[in-house]
């Protein structure tokens, strides 16, 4: 039996920062259809600061809620600050998650980091 907190259910039902950013500065997808956990993150960055972030999810309620919470937390942070975010913080902010769902919060953080890396690499290419 999976028990979600009210806050998780709220983020599941009303995800924040949902969707895609049309001309995003960076975009990254983690996970795969095969293993079921998959997520895409879109970033807008100005002066090393995340000014906008959106996500899409192919995953469970925890996946959706952790992605939603992650976007809320990092919006407005500098890239360096955002890189330091770890999955435990997201779980805490959501008031907890079933243990078997921790990997979903991991996925949210991994996808964010991949998007930041993507952005930094695109800068380097310029």
């Amino acid at each position: 039996m999976l028990k979600y907190t009210e806050l998780v259910l709220d983020h599941f039902k009303n995800p924040r920062n949902l969707g895609k950013i049309e001309n995003a500065d960076a975009e990254a997808t983690e996970g795969s259809i095969a293993c079921g956990d998959m997520m895409t993150v879109y970033l807008k960055v100005e002066d090393d600061r995340i000014t906008d972030i959106k996500f899409e999810s192919y995953g469970c309620a925890a996946n959706i809620a952790t992605a939603s919470m992650m976007t809320e937390v990092v919006k407005g942070l500098t890239l360096e600050e955002a890189k330091k975010l770890n999955w435990k913080e997201i779980v805490e902010r959501l008031g907890g998650l079933p243990q078997v769902k921790y990997h979903c919060s991991n996925l949210a953080v991994d996808t964010l980091r991949k998007a930041i890396k993507e952005y930094e690499e695109s800068l380097a290419r310029k």
Binding site: I33, C35, G36, Y58, G59, C60, A61, N63
Partner: protein, 390 residues
Amino acid sequence: MKVFLDNCRTTRVLPEVAAVVQQYMVDKFARPDGLYESAEEIYDDLVSAREFFAKSINADSPEEIVFTSGATEANNLSLLGIARANKKNGNHIVISALEHGSIMSIADALKKEGFEVTVIPVDKEGFVKLDELKKSIRPSTIMISVISVGHFVGSIMPLEEIGKIVKSQDHKIYFHTDAAEMYAKLPVDVKKINCDLMSVSGHKFHGPKGVGFLYIKKGTKIQPVMYGAESFDKRRPGGENIPAIMGMKKAAELSFLNMEKALKELRRLQEYFINRVEREIDHVILNGPRGETRTPYNVNFSFSFIEGEAISLGLSMEGVEVATGSACASEKLEPNYAILAIGGDHERAHGSIRFTFDRFTTQEQIDYTVEKLKSVVSWLRKISPIKSHT
């Protein structure tokens, strides 16, 4: 509106059944082995319940019915009991790929006791492959166990054909079927099937939890799984759970009443539901067979590009309660084995939702379910990064 569509997991006890259980808890509470009046009456009731269940499956004699704490125990008694009692004749057991988790676990336990287990594959619709079954049989095969109705994908197994194959061998093979999803839901006849053992569970047809029975054909060599005193039957010790047995009897009687009519209506609703979903929602796959060979109690769809736990949670928020085969919803994060067994990939398991009816499911409930399903699916598809659906 609340629509419970997880009736394959368990069902609501009917008030008429609860009343019987109540009566045997509070008034006729004695044990049948007492040496007094109130015990006598209860002994008679127990005898008549046994007769009733024997007749209900066309068994030869009431002694062929052993009451258990449910189908899990019946499955244990059957598989462990037959294997251990007949190991001198062989160490090979055959099961199907769509068995209930309990049979799978029992088979694993038997492997540790030195038995060999062959798992017979099923075809794309969820039917046991009979040619593979035939091929699997060896001189050392002592038992074949095949579920009556696939509990995930609804395939009614070709039990009669299996019975014939088993019977046509030149050595004795015990044929067991786990009928938890068949008994009191569809017509059952152990003579037609030619099975030696059949497991039944009370809470699958509006009876009480914690009760079931195992049919054991006369002459079957079986070893108990538990030992004790105070029982009707050496094969299952312990005081009989008489309130639950009498409740299960009542539930079965009610099921058999007008069963044909109820099944007809269920079939109509099932088709209606399948049609509406297939017409009104894109990218859906029906898991399991269509028509007469599918149990009318089960519909199972995979919705592409989205995940089942999220779908079922979304539906639950609207009062519709279902099951999913998504890995995300399983304890071990494994995709549903039944979907894989019928040739589905992880993605198809991922987006699978099982809707299971009882005989009281209404058109209104189906309509409500379809509406909610449409909105949940379209909402989750909007969120999904998989683009092929646009």
